[in-house]
Amino acid sequence: MTLAAQRPQLPFTRPNLLELAPFYEVLRREAPIAPVTTPAGDPAWLATRYAEVRQLLGDKRFGRSHPEPEQAARISLAGIQDGPSGSYDSEAAEHARMRRLLTPAFSAKRMRALSGHVQELVDGYVDEMLAEHDAGGGQVDLHAHLAFPLPVAVICRLLGVPEADGEYFRSLSDRMATYSGQDAQDARIEFGRYMAGLAEAKRADPGEDVITDLVRAQAEEEDFGYEEMVRLCVGLLFAGHETTVNRIGLGTLFLMTRRDQWESLAADPDGRIDAVVEEMMRMGAPGDLGLLRYAHEDVEIGGATIERGDAVILSINAANRDDTVFSDAEDFDPDRTERGHVGFGHGPHFCIGASLARTELRAVFTTLARRIPQLRMAVEMDELDIRTDHITGGVRSLPVAW
């Protein structure tokens, strides 16, 4: 039977958190643009090969909105990336505004200026890990002590969100990204209400932060709707911590299961860190779906005809392990010479927080390598508490020892 007739249903079962489903290898080779069934049961295309994924990410004939949203394929039962977003007519203008308003606030230069503050935070969390280790049984939860609090503290400061709300918006984010249908939608609505409340507090009492800037811009720009502003704020707070928390956890697992890589990082943290972080960005593969687009025109690509309105899921996880581009692609090898992973996306939607995420990842792993070189996992990979039925997956705790 051909792949087209099968329409395999996502997600494909993966052996563990660090490896992908072997089926991606088959798809890359035989059907780089494959007809699949979404977790919600609708038809979509799945792109798995590097060349096509990169090309599609840069192609302006695709967007996040849908010409007829009620006809659009549904993707999953989560509260985000579940279907089309934004309006077909105004998507381009709204996206341009978002980039214009947000990009400067997260520029590489600003993030470099922030790195001292990030380092202080990391040192504080590692102090606590060391104290907890000495006081208790020698086992510490790296997720609760470092991977979670750091990105939350940093994004709270940049956005002007009270850090004390961290647990609250974390649980909303968690629910919103879980394939639970109604509860995910409820969480998204509650998140919006929470953000609107925060926005109003900023209007009354402005701060020097991104939410204050967005509230101001919304008041000044006639076609900048209130709902759009709230959606932006929710998106930022979500993207600003969820992804990074996850990547710190995955990065730790990659290094702890490859002792030689950890030891060479510990031997030369400053010299090795950039390459190690890029390899974490290439190999880290949270979640089992991919980036979502809808075709705004008919497009021929990779032997397939994608019709206007069709959903396309772009597996950046699979693209980043395409062995026609990255030699021995399944090996975690910071010394590889190939560049250009798509872990932060590519093209017009390229991650706005890339410099921030890199700053955090660098501070975390140089500090751990320097201060706790004996670090090791305290449980086996298959004992980890993993979030299933969740857009980005990831662990709930990460017990380590030294």
């Binding site: 840069g58 990009t103 017009p348 390229f350 991650c351």
Partner: protein, 65 residues
């Protein structure tokens, strides 16, 4: 080597100045790329090529020779 940047295509990712800080900068107000050195010295050529291939907006053009 001659380098050109397309400021209209640039999406402000900051990738290029991380790769080749002596050749690229970002404007403070909108994070759009600025070219510091359109004819960089030979020692910079390799990182400039990396910056061009790594640019998510294909906004950097390198003319060899």
């Amino acid at each position: 080597m001659k380098v050109e940047v397309d400021q209209d295509a640039c999406v402000g990712s900051g990738q290029c100045l991380l790769t080749a800080p002596d050749v690229f900068d970002q404007r403070d107000e909108d994070a759009i790329v600025e070219l510091l050195d359109a004819e960089p010295p030979a020692a910079q050529h390799q990182v400039v090529r990396h910056a061009a291939t790594g640019c998510p907006a294909a906004a950097i053009t390198v003319h060899e020779h």
